[in-house]
Structure formats: structure tokens, C-alpha cells
């Protein structure tokens, strides 16, 4: 979170009708000011793009012990970069972290974890203000500690703006940002750290 206008108490302002009104109004304002037009047509929580700044407050919602411990590992991975990640609850939270037995059907079939942008800076450049991260215990509950750490590193990596790494782009086979979670890859590699740092 970056501005006081974006507290949870103000999230009612983020309803679709209000967003459309605000987008139009802010576009008009910026045009009046002679600045470059904003991406007002965007209108939604579209991007799971990079975070809006390096300060990263993480809030855990009643996580299992394994998920909580793994998240602390992932937080430490973020702190290897320019990100300043800490646990904090409340209106300034940047990453909302949940776990549940979400099941093994539909959009959760074969999926151990999921991250999306809950609130992006739609009025400006689409950078993400608040992410939502979910661990699917229907699969992850079988994980050992390093698989859990790989999963948490991976999902938190998305909240730092990282995308997936393919095998040919990870020849050392040591990035947690590969598409498949693997206990042998619980950490960011140097390339991941550089990529986060280059975002800011």
C-alpha cells in the first residue's frame, strides 16, 4: 500500500461502477493538467505485474504451521533483493496470504499455489498494490519442508514481479520460479534477485 487513499476502509471505492467513474474522472484531470494520459481504459485488477514499491507488508490469515513456516522462508528470500519484506497486519498490507483445502477440481486441479493482483494501481500504470496468495493444501499438505519452501518462494516471487522460468533459462536448475514446484529448488537464484532489483 502506498497512499492513505487506499486503506481497506476505502475499498468500497473500488467497486466496479466507482472504478469506472474514478478512471474517467482521473483521466479528465490528467488531461486537463497536460500530462500523459493514464491507462484509464484498463479498469480492473488486471495485472499481476510488479509491486508498486519495495516495501512489502505480508499478512498471514490463520495459516497452518507448515504454510506459515514456509512463508517466513519466502519472506527471507525476498529480503535477499531490494525488497523490504516484513510481517504486518492492517490497512497497509501488500500481500494477503491464505491457505485452505481448495480441492482438486476446476481451476484448482493440479495447482499447488496461486497468486493474483487484488488491487492494482489502475489509475496509473497497473503496478500492483495488493496481492493475494493462496496455498492449496489439497496438494501441499503432502509436502516436505523443502517443497513447501519452494512453493512459498515461488508464490512470493510473483508478488515481487517475477514470472516463470523455463528449464532452458534455468540451466543451473536452482530457481524456485520454475513452473513446477520441486524440493530441490527452494530459493531464488542470482538471476531472480537481479530481475527483482531491476524492477525498481
Amino acid at each position: 500500500m502506498t497512499t492513505s487513499t487506499q486503506s481497506k476502509a476505502n475499498r468500497a471505492l473500488r467497486s466496479r461502477p466507482m472504478r469506472i467513474l474514478l478512471a474517467t474522472a482521473s483521466a479528465a484531470l490528467v488531461l486537463l493538467a497536460g500530462a500523459a494520459p493514464v491507462q484509464a481504459s484498463h479498469g480492473g485488477d488486471a495485472n499481476s505485474g510488479p509491486p508498486d514499491n519495495t516495501t512489502h507488508y505480508l499478512e498471514r490469515f490463520n495459516l497452518t504451521r507448515a504454510a506459515s513456516g514456509a512463508t517466513t522462508h519466502g519472506l527471507g528470500q525476498l529480503d535477499r533483493s531490494v525488497m523490504d519484506a516484513t510481517y504486518a497486519d492492517g490497512p497497509e498490507t501488500d500481500v494477503l496470504i491464505y491457505d485452505a483445502y481448495y480441492g482438486r477440481t476446476g481451476s484448482w486441479q493440479g495447482i499447488a499455489g496461486r497468486t493474483n493482483c487484488q488491487e492494482d494501481e489502475w489509475w496509473w500504470d497497473g503496478d500492483c498494490d495488493v496481492y493475494r496468495l493462496r496455498y492449496n493444501l489439497s496438494y501441499a499438505a503432502s509436502y516436505g519442508i523443502d517443497s513447501w519452501r519452494s512453493l512459498a518462494c515461488h508464490e512470493l516471487g510473483h508478488t515481487a514481479g517475477l514470472g516463470h522460468r523455463s528449464a532452458p533459462s534455468d540451466t543451473d536448475n536452482n530457481s524456485c520460479m520454475r513452473n513446477k514446484i520441486d524440493s530441490s529448488r527452494p530459493r531464488f537464484d542470482a538471476h531472480d534477485i537481479s530481475a527483482i532489483n531491476a524492477t525498481f
Binding site: R16, L22, G43, N53, T105, T115, W123, W124, L137
Partner: protein, 257 residues
């Protein structure tokens, strides 16, 4: 000829945000204008009302439990592989997540008219249509998996589907076994597969540069033949439920399927 519909593998280019002061000014000004502009409300009724928009505005990242290097193994692991055409998009079941978020999420269902059953692991038979869950809607916003654009009505291709046993024999609703389990074939025999399919996974053995759709269809059929002949073994994954359904942190009961 092929298309690569994935986003760049590596992170985002460098960019700087606006100054906080400017953002705050714009936001505050917008609020003031919006408050004064109630009469403008009626200008956007359609955009406001549709809970299931046709175009996704949101993207979610998903981490796969499975990884396939061999097309025959992905085939053998699937409950059903069909060739078909999307004929309808519709909202499916709504689920409220019991995770503290209270998010209410509605499956996005793609109804596929089945042209041909390519592989049938469980003896399901030859359904006329299958329903594939692909993305979801939440709070009036559509979400698509990163690198996997929504299938639209009229698009055709091959669908590698699964559903948990034993329900798989009683359902018509499936999900993709993996992000590489959707092969859309467009005009000019252009092939579109989600993810880094040209760099890793079950499709790297196919000559996508010169072969076009015919090369994929040949590979799909020979992998199905190998799976049917028992030459490829399904990949098993561990799945769990809590031993005490009321206590999420109770010891998990896990099995392979």
C-alpha cells in the same frame, strides 16, 4: 506455423512509479469529481452490471503439481483426451472460499462439442460434449491463467482433461491436466499452446517450426496409441484431506492418484 501465446519468461522491464504526491492528487481529485458527478453514473450501465464479462481483466499465476516431459505420459495421466470445438461459455459453480478472504469465485465453463475421443483412460465412452473449467470470475472480473488466454466460442483443438477418481465416471466437468494440455488449432493450421511449450515439456519433440498442425496431430495420435497400449504409465500425484475436517491444521491424510 506456430504461435507462442505466453508472456515473456523473465520479469518485467524496469519502470518507475509516479510520485506519491501526484498519485494522491489525482486520486483525491478523482474522488471529488466522482462525488460531484453522480449524474454521469448512468453512462456505464452495461459495464457495471455484467458479473461474467466476456473478456478477462485479471491474471492469476498458478504453480503446477505435475510436469510432463513426455506426451504419452501426459496422455496416459489424462482421464480423457478429446478433439473438439468450443460451443458455449457459461458460469458454473460458485464457491465461497473458507480461508478468511470470503472471496466468492465462479468457475468459467467452456462447453466443448466433441468431434473425436482420442484417449479414454477409464472407459468413460464417447460423450457428445464435455465441460472444461477454464478460469473464473470474481466480483465482476474475469481471471485467466497467466500465459493461457481464454478459449472463445468457435475455437477448435485438442483438450487433455482430468477429474479426480472415482467421480470421473460420473461427471461431465473436467479441468486441464496441465497448462500444456490445451492445443488450439487456428486458421492456417496455426498451433497455440499455453506456457513455455516450445522450450520445455511434452511438445518440444514436435517439429513446430516446419510441421504445423499436422505434425501435432500425428504426435497426439501416436502418444494416444502408446498410452492405450500401456507403453506409458500415468504420473501419480499426492492429494490430501485433513484428518479432522473441522481443523485445517490437523494431520493430513494423503494418498496417490
Amino acid at each position: 506455423m506456430t504461435e507462442h501465446d505466453d508472456a515473456p519468461p523473465d520479469p518485467v522491464p524496469s519502470r518507475r512509479g509516479p510520485s506519491r504526491r501526484l498519485v494522491a492528487l489525482v486520486a483525491a481529485g478523482a474522488v471529488a469529481l466522482a462525488a460531484a458527478g453522480v449524474t454521469s453514473w448512468a453512462l456505464w450501465p452495461d459495464a457495471v452490471d455484467d458479473p461474467y464479462p466476456d473478456v478477462p481483466e485479471g491474471v492469476y499465476h498458478a504453480a503446477d503439481v505435475r510436469a510432463f516431459d513426455d506426451l504419452a505420459v501426459m496422455t496416459a495421466s489424462s482421464a480423457l483426451v478429446v478433439k473438439g470445438t468450443a460451443v458455449e461459455i457459461r458460469p458454473g459453480a460458485e464457491v465461497v472460499y473458507d480461508d478468511g478472504s470470503e472471496a466468492a469465485v465462479t468457475d468459467r465453463e467452456v462447453v466443448v462439442d466433441v468431434d473425436k475421443v482420442v484417449y479414454d483412460r477409464y472407459g468413460i465412452g464417447a460423450p457428445e460434449t464435455v465441460v472444461v473449467v477454464e478460469g473464473y470470475w470474481e466480483n465482476g472480473i474475469g481471471y485467466t491463467r497467466e500465459g493461457m488466454p481464454w478459449t472463445e466460442v468457435g475455437q477448435s483443438g485438442y483438450f487433455y482433461l482430468t477429474a479426480p477418481p472415482p467421480d470421473v465416471l460420473a461427471t461431465e466437468t473436467y479441468a486441464y491436466i496441465h497448462e500444456a494440455g490445451r492445443v488450439l488449432i487456428g486458421s492456417g493450421s496455426a498451433v497455440s499452446i499455453p506456457g513455455h511449450w516450445q522450450e520445455e515439456g511434452p511438445w518440444t519433440a514436435v517439429d513446430h517450426v516446419n510441421g504445423g498442425a499436422p505434425a501435432f496431430e500425428t504426435a497426439i495420435q501416436s502418444a494416444a496409441d502408446a498410452a492405450a497400449a500401456g507403453e506409458a504409465v500415468p504420473e501419480l500425484i499426492s492429494v490430501c484431506v485433513p484428518s479432522d475436517p473441522a481443523v485445517e491444521d490437523s494431520a493430513p491424510l494423503c494418498w496417490e492418484e
